[in-house]
Amino acid sequence: MVEISYVITDPRGIHARPAGQLVKLLSKYKCSVQMGTKENKVDAKRLIAVMKLALAQGNELFLVFDGEDEKAASEAALEFLKSNL
Protein backbone atom coordinates (compact mmCIF):
# COMPACT_ATOMS: atom_id res chain seq x y z
CA MET A 1 0.00 0.00 0.00
CA VAL A 2 1.22 3.50 -0.88
CA GLU A 3 -0.27 6.71 0.52
CA ILE A 4 0.35 10.22 -0.79
CA SER A 5 -1.05 13.58 0.19
CA TYR A 6 -1.24 16.88 -1.63
CA VAL A 7 -2.48 20.35 -0.68
CA ILE A 8 -4.60 21.87 -3.46
CA THR A 9 -3.26 25.21 -4.65
CA ASP A 10 -5.67 25.92 -7.54
CA PRO A 11 -8.17 28.60 -6.38
CA ARG A 12 -10.94 26.74 -8.27
CA GLY A 13 -10.34 23.53 -6.31
CA ILE A 14 -10.98 20.18 -7.98
CA HIS A 15 -13.63 21.07 -10.55
CA ALA A 16 -14.99 18.91 -13.36
CA ARG A 17 -12.10 19.02 -15.82
CA PRO A 18 -9.17 18.13 -13.51
CA ALA A 19 -11.34 15.60 -11.66
CA GLY A 20 -12.06 13.88 -14.97
CA GLN A 21 -8.45 13.94 -16.10
CA LEU A 22 -7.28 12.48 -12.79
CA VAL A 23 -9.91 9.71 -12.86
CA LYS A 24 -8.94 8.89 -16.43
CA LEU A 25 -5.26 8.69 -15.48
CA LEU A 26 -5.88 6.47 -12.44
CA SER A 27 -8.20 4.16 -14.39
CA LYS A 28 -5.20 3.04 -16.47
CA TYR A 29 -3.71 1.31 -13.43
CA LYS A 30 -4.76 -2.03 -11.99
CA CYS A 31 -4.36 -1.09 -8.32
CA SER A 32 -7.31 0.17 -6.30
CA VAL A 33 -7.20 3.88 -5.45
CA GLN A 34 -9.09 5.57 -2.63
CA MET A 35 -9.10 9.36 -2.59
CA GLY A 36 -10.43 12.14 -0.39
CA THR A 37 -9.84 13.73 2.99
CA LYS A 38 -8.33 11.88 5.95
CA GLU A 39 -11.82 10.89 7.15
CA ASN A 40 -13.79 10.54 3.92
CA LYS A 41 -12.37 8.63 0.96
CA VAL A 42 -14.09 7.43 -2.20
CA ASP A 43 -13.17 5.19 -5.15
CA ALA A 44 -10.86 7.47 -7.16
CA LYS A 45 -11.81 5.72 -10.40
CA ARG A 46 -15.45 6.91 -10.14
CA LEU A 47 -15.76 10.40 -11.61
CA ILE A 48 -19.07 11.27 -9.97
CA ALA A 49 -17.67 10.39 -6.52
CA VAL A 50 -14.44 12.32 -7.04
CA MET A 51 -16.32 15.46 -8.16
CA LYS A 52 -18.65 15.14 -5.18
CA LEU A 53 -15.67 15.46 -2.81
CA ALA A 54 -15.76 19.14 -3.88
CA LEU A 55 -12.25 19.73 -2.57
CA ALA A 56 -11.23 23.38 -2.43
CA GLN A 57 -8.00 25.35 -2.42
CA GLY A 58 -6.04 24.67 0.77
CA ASN A 59 -7.68 21.28 1.39
CA GLU A 60 -5.31 18.36 1.90
CA LEU A 61 -6.08 15.52 -0.45
CA PHE A 62 -5.08 11.93 0.42
CA LEU A 63 -4.73 9.07 -2.03
CA VAL A 64 -4.23 5.45 -1.04
CA PHE A 65 -3.03 2.97 -3.68
CA ASP A 66 -3.22 -0.79 -3.22
CA GLY A 67 -2.17 -3.37 -5.81
CA GLU A 68 0.66 -4.51 -8.03
CA ASP A 69 1.29 -1.20 -9.84
CA GLU A 70 0.66 1.03 -6.80
CA LYS A 71 4.07 2.69 -6.96
CA ALA A 72 3.78 3.72 -10.61
CA ALA A 73 0.18 4.92 -10.10
CA SER A 74 1.10 7.02 -7.06
CA GLU A 75 3.99 8.65 -8.91
CA ALA A 76 1.82 9.47 -11.92
CA ALA A 77 -0.92 10.88 -9.66
CA LEU A 78 1.49 13.09 -7.73
CA GLU A 79 2.96 14.44 -10.93
CA PHE A 80 -0.54 15.20 -12.26
CA LEU A 81 -1.55 16.96 -9.02
CA LYS A 82 1.58 19.10 -8.96
CA SER A 83 1.12 20.29 -12.52
CA ASN A 84 -2.69 20.70 -12.52
CA LEU A 85 -3.99 21.41 -9.04
Partner: protein, 165 residues
Protein backbone atom coordinates in the same frame (compact mmCIF):
# COMPACT_ATOMS: atom_id res chain seq x y z
CA UNK B 1 -30.58 2.14 -3.27
CA UNK B 2 -33.39 1.56 -5.78
CA UNK B 3 -35.92 -1.23 -5.69
CA UNK B 4 -35.56 -4.51 -7.53
CA UNK B 5 -38.65 -3.62 -9.56
CA UNK B 6 -36.82 -0.68 -11.19
CA UNK B 7 -33.87 -2.96 -11.92
CA UNK B 8 -36.12 -5.55 -13.50
CA UNK B 9 -37.72 -2.93 -15.75
CA UNK B 10 -34.37 -1.50 -16.83
CA UNK B 11 -33.16 -4.92 -17.98
CA UNK B 12 -35.86 -5.11 -20.58
CA UNK B 13 -35.45 -1.81 -22.35
CA UNK B 14 -32.78 0.69 -23.23
CA UNK B 15 -32.30 3.64 -20.93
CA UNK B 16 -33.02 7.05 -22.48
CA UNK B 17 -31.02 10.16 -21.63
CA UNK B 18 -32.62 13.32 -23.01
CA UNK B 19 -31.27 16.75 -23.91
CA UNK B 20 -30.96 18.94 -20.79
CA UNK B 21 -32.34 22.05 -22.54
CA UNK B 22 -33.77 23.56 -25.68
CA UNK B 23 -31.26 24.42 -28.37
CA UNK B 24 -29.14 22.92 -31.12
CA UNK B 25 -26.91 19.88 -30.84
CA UNK B 26 -23.40 20.74 -32.00
CA UNK B 27 -20.42 18.63 -33.03
CA UNK B 28 -18.13 17.78 -30.14
CA UNK B 29 -15.26 19.20 -32.18
CA UNK B 30 -16.93 22.62 -31.84
CA UNK B 31 -16.70 22.59 -28.03
CA UNK B 32 -13.95 25.07 -27.08
CA UNK B 33 -12.52 22.76 -24.41
CA UNK B 34 -10.37 19.72 -25.23
CA UNK B 35 -11.56 17.68 -22.27
CA UNK B 36 -15.15 17.76 -23.48
CA UNK B 37 -14.35 17.88 -27.22
CA UNK B 38 -12.30 14.68 -26.94
CA UNK B 39 -14.83 12.98 -24.59
CA UNK B 40 -12.09 12.50 -21.96
CA UNK B 41 -14.63 12.22 -19.13
CA UNK B 42 -16.86 9.76 -20.97
CA UNK B 43 -19.37 9.75 -23.88
CA UNK B 44 -20.19 13.42 -24.45
CA UNK B 45 -22.80 15.45 -26.32
CA UNK B 46 -23.09 19.24 -26.48
CA UNK B 47 -25.99 21.67 -26.87
CA UNK B 48 -25.89 25.32 -27.86
CA UNK B 49 -28.79 26.47 -25.67
CA UNK B 50 -31.59 28.71 -26.88
CA UNK B 51 -33.21 29.21 -23.48
CA UNK B 52 -31.99 29.77 -19.96
CA UNK B 53 -33.14 26.74 -18.01
CA UNK B 54 -31.23 23.48 -17.72
CA UNK B 55 -33.36 20.46 -16.88
CA UNK B 56 -32.90 16.91 -15.65
CA UNK B 57 -31.89 14.64 -18.57
CA UNK B 58 -33.29 11.63 -16.69
CA UNK B 59 -35.47 10.90 -13.68
CA UNK B 60 -33.29 10.28 -10.66
CA UNK B 61 -31.43 11.83 -7.78
CA UNK B 62 -29.37 15.04 -7.80
CA UNK B 63 -25.96 13.88 -6.56
CA UNK B 64 -24.17 17.21 -6.66
CA UNK B 65 -24.78 20.87 -7.36
CA UNK B 66 -21.35 22.36 -7.85
CA UNK B 67 -20.48 25.06 -5.31
CA UNK B 68 -20.30 27.53 -8.20
CA UNK B 69 -23.68 26.31 -9.59
CA UNK B 70 -22.30 25.94 -13.12
CA UNK B 71 -22.77 22.18 -13.20
CA UNK B 72 -24.64 19.31 -11.60
CA UNK B 73 -24.50 15.55 -11.49
CA UNK B 74 -27.50 13.26 -11.45
CA UNK B 75 -27.84 9.49 -11.02
CA UNK B 76 -30.75 7.92 -12.92
CA UNK B 77 -33.02 5.26 -11.49
CA UNK B 78 -30.96 2.74 -13.49
CA UNK B 79 -27.69 4.12 -12.00
CA UNK B 80 -26.53 6.04 -15.07
CA UNK B 81 -24.29 8.82 -13.69
CA UNK B 82 -24.47 12.04 -15.72
CA UNK B 83 -22.62 15.36 -15.59
CA UNK B 84 -24.31 18.46 -17.06
CA UNK B 85 -21.90 21.38 -17.37
CA UNK B 86 -23.26 24.84 -18.26
CA UNK B 87 -20.85 26.81 -20.40
CA UNK B 88 -17.09 26.45 -20.77
CA UNK B 89 -14.70 27.66 -18.06
CA UNK B 90 -17.75 29.00 -16.20
CA UNK B 91 -16.24 27.74 -12.92
CA UNK B 92 -14.42 31.09 -13.02
CA UNK B 93 -17.71 33.02 -12.65
CA UNK B 94 -17.83 31.73 -9.08
CA UNK B 95 -21.60 31.26 -9.07
CA UNK B 96 -22.50 34.60 -10.67
CA UNK B 97 -25.12 34.18 -13.38
CA UNK B 98 -26.41 30.85 -12.05
CA UNK B 99 -29.36 29.97 -9.84
CA UNK B 100 -29.99 26.47 -8.53
CA UNK B 101 -33.68 25.48 -8.47
CA UNK B 102 -33.24 22.21 -6.54
CA UNK B 103 -31.08 20.85 -3.72
CA UNK B 104 -28.57 18.03 -3.56
CA UNK B 105 -30.25 14.67 -2.87
CA UNK B 106 -33.57 15.86 -4.36
CA UNK B 107 -35.40 13.25 -6.43
CA UNK B 108 -36.37 14.81 -9.76
CA UNK B 109 -38.23 13.79 -12.89
CA UNK B 110 -36.83 13.97 -16.41
CA UNK B 111 -37.49 17.50 -17.69
CA UNK B 112 -37.65 19.14 -14.24
CA UNK B 113 -35.79 22.50 -14.16
CA UNK B 114 -32.49 22.24 -12.22
CA UNK B 115 -30.45 25.40 -12.87
CA UNK B 116 -31.31 28.78 -14.40
CA UNK B 117 -28.49 30.69 -16.03
CA UNK B 118 -28.00 34.18 -17.42
CA UNK B 119 -26.71 33.60 -20.96
CA UNK B 120 -26.13 37.31 -21.61
CA UNK B 121 -24.00 37.61 -18.48
CA UNK B 122 -21.91 34.54 -19.41
CA UNK B 123 -21.41 35.92 -22.93
CA UNK B 124 -20.48 39.35 -21.52
CA UNK B 125 -17.55 37.61 -19.79
CA UNK B 126 -16.48 36.22 -23.18
CA UNK B 127 -17.35 32.67 -22.18
CA UNK B 128 -19.24 30.11 -24.24
CA UNK B 129 -22.71 28.98 -23.10
CA UNK B 130 -22.32 25.54 -24.74
CA UNK B 131 -23.67 22.81 -22.47
CA UNK B 132 -21.71 19.54 -22.57
CA UNK B 133 -23.38 16.48 -21.05
CA UNK B 134 -21.28 13.45 -20.12
CA UNK B 135 -22.04 9.84 -19.17
CA UNK B 136 -19.59 9.35 -16.28
CA UNK B 137 -19.85 5.57 -15.77
CA UNK B 138 -19.88 4.08 -19.27
CA UNK B 139 -18.10 0.92 -18.09
CA UNK B 140 -21.06 -0.01 -15.86
CA UNK B 141 -23.17 -0.59 -19.00
CA UNK B 142 -23.18 -2.93 -21.96
CA UNK B 143 -23.38 -0.11 -24.49
CA UNK B 144 -23.77 3.66 -24.58
CA UNK B 145 -24.96 4.97 -27.94
CA UNK B 146 -25.08 8.61 -28.90
CA UNK B 147 -28.08 9.73 -30.97
CA UNK B 148 -27.46 12.60 -33.35
CA UNK B 149 -30.01 15.39 -33.57
CA UNK B 150 -30.28 18.98 -34.76
CA UNK B 151 -32.89 21.09 -32.93
CA UNK B 152 -33.43 19.60 -29.49
CA UNK B 153 -35.59 20.14 -26.43
CA UNK B 154 -36.03 18.16 -23.23
CA UNK B 155 -38.09 15.55 -25.12
CA UNK B 156 -35.21 14.75 -27.50
CA UNK B 157 -33.32 11.58 -26.62
CA UNK B 158 -29.53 11.95 -27.03
CA UNK B 159 -28.23 8.69 -25.54
CA UNK B 160 -29.56 5.16 -25.62
CA UNK B 161 -27.94 2.98 -22.97
CA UNK B 162 -28.09 -0.79 -22.61
CA UNK B 163 -27.80 -2.40 -19.18
CA UNK B 164 -25.30 -5.23 -18.75
CA UNK B 165 -26.87 -8.65 -19.25
Amino acid sequence: MFGSFAKMLSKNKDIAVNAPCKGKMIDNSDIPDETFADSILGPTVAIMPSDNTVCAPVSGKIIQLFRTKHAFTICSQENVEILVHIGINTVDLNGQGFEALVNENDEVKQGDPIIKFDADFIKSKNLSTIIPMVICNESDFEQVNKINADDVDTHTQLFSIQAKK
